[in-house]
Symmetry: C2
Subunit: 313 residues, 2 copies
Amino acid sequence: MTNSDTSDGSHLMSIAAVERDCGLPKDTLRVWERRYGFPNPLRDRHDERMYPADQVATLRLIRRLVEAGHRPGKVVGRSDEDLSELLRQVGVPAVQVIGAEARQVLELLGACDAAGLRDVLHATVLRDGLGAFAAEIGPGLAEAVGAAWSRGELEIHQEHLFTEQFTTVLRSAINAAQGAGLPRRRPRVLFSTFPQEPHSLGLLMAEAMFTLEGCLGISLGVQTPIPEIAAAARAHKADILAISFSSMIPALQALAGLNELRALVPETVEIWAGGACPGLRPKPGVSVLRALSAIGPAVTAWRAREDEGSTPE
Amino acid sequence: MTNSDTSDGSHLMSIAAVERDCGLPKDTLRVWERRYGFPNPLRDRHDERMYPADQVATLRLIRRLVEAGHRPGKVVGRSDEDLSELLRQVGVPAVQVIGAEARQVLELLGACDAAGLRDVLHATVLRDGLGAFAAEIGPGLAEAVGAAWSRGELEIHQEHLFTEQFTTVLRSAINAAQGAGLPRRRPRVLFSTFPQEPHSLGLLMAEAMFTLEGCLGISLGVQTPIPEIAAAARAHKADILAISFSSMIPALQALAGLNELRALVPETVEIWAGGACPGLRPKPGVSVLRALSAIGPAVTAWRAREDEGSTPE
DNA sequence: TGGCATATTTGTCCAGGACAAACATCTGGA
DNA sequence: TCCAGATGTTTGTCCTGGACAAATATGCCA
């Protein structure tokens, strides 16, 4: 039950605190220490690891690199300078194709200008429409922000700020679209993410696209246990389960989860998976929508199938 | 790297999958098995625990009871009937004082009527105003839903649905209030929760209250690492850091986190903590606002202090 | 070049022991 | 009667060091 997040004075952190702050499991932290000699935490009087703040900062750098594809054995133990240098090389190609929109957003984020950011996003929605914003611009912005973060150009709190403002703007646009007369009809779509996936942006953009198609959308928010998603599908009589995956989630976990879900709901309920997760592949009973712009046609096709299936009798 | 979420055919789950689905740490699952003989998972060919679905379901019941205050030693190992019986007794006293509003909400949740739920919440905001909704009705509803869940009357997905609809309604009301003319001025308030705290409802209600007072509010969303909150405070020139704690969070963790944060930001930045966390106590440099209705007077007092401090020169 | 077999790296799991924080219970004083 | 403090029990988290399979890299042949 010892769970002192951090020490009082000297900024030491327990292994549990480091796990949360860096996203590295305790087992991994211990095995890195055993194999590579880093991290090299102090011990408190009861021989428990206490990580100094600078080692935690280094661990965050390492995590970024590992996520970007570097192998732990090659980067754990190297100096902060080396790591920063490697970080600078990551994601650089993306800067070239970055849009004017994204540049402006990154600038505002750099200046921590929350109100300005919200205004720009809002103006973009008004100018280009919710469809283009959710399907094209939004994902582009999210990717640009993610890349900037992994390059070390943004702090975590600035990424949080972006997420928050983006969510606010998009949600209010979705509300407006829902209120705007358009008759709602099937398919009835249930949105959520798996327990390992806390990112809500992809889900929200998908919700926008389905809303524009006049679907009956119901969101469960993020991180719903898989059996609960299945239970909700029954309770809401859902036609489609829309599950969102960010690029952070291991593809294997995603596929295993989709298998589990597929086994728990009847065949008549479709499962549509989407998001930036690279290894996502369609399988029997599970469609994969590579881009958000594919949602419109897919819904049209679903409705055609539905009509076809019901009229012949 | 073995991370098979669930087995293929026979609905067996690995310890990692159970940890995610039930929210019980691996270490706890193992030590319960050692001490109480339950859970009692099968082993795969490499001697790794594989939990049958029914044991996982029982673990979910147990988790509810433990969260409601029962001691593991008294409930782990008992029959499903016993557990369900205990669950029925939990939170019963609260039913007496439940309001008409809450009853209606619980009914709609039971029926999984998302649209009806949103309409009722929206109507309540319009009738009683954002202030009363955020400060009085909202917390009451959240408590009623939490109690109903711990009594086993609601599924997790229904609680998710409530959170989602509540968030949508409250956020759109906040947006409306921000748009409504009222001049924004200091204090500049930064909202977030600590990394262990994923609940956003309390934060959102607090944001509503500060917004009504005409403050300049900026939300970082939930689960911001503590050093990042401090960095954001500098970047945004915040006057007040508003940190929200649900009743789920251990008081000691909360206090330790507040200590750490206090040490990282200058004395001129105030820290205001609030939420349902029982053990929360004020300390030097950290105020505790027991109820959301206390926010209004507290802001007034802050402004008085500010004027007093700046005019004498 | 591309496909396949082999080697290395790496994350997760296991057992069983230890201990401090959290919680329950008992005790004495206002 | 009730509250504060001392004492005992329960419980979650941490430890070590070993093991192995999935993931990744490397070598080889067509």
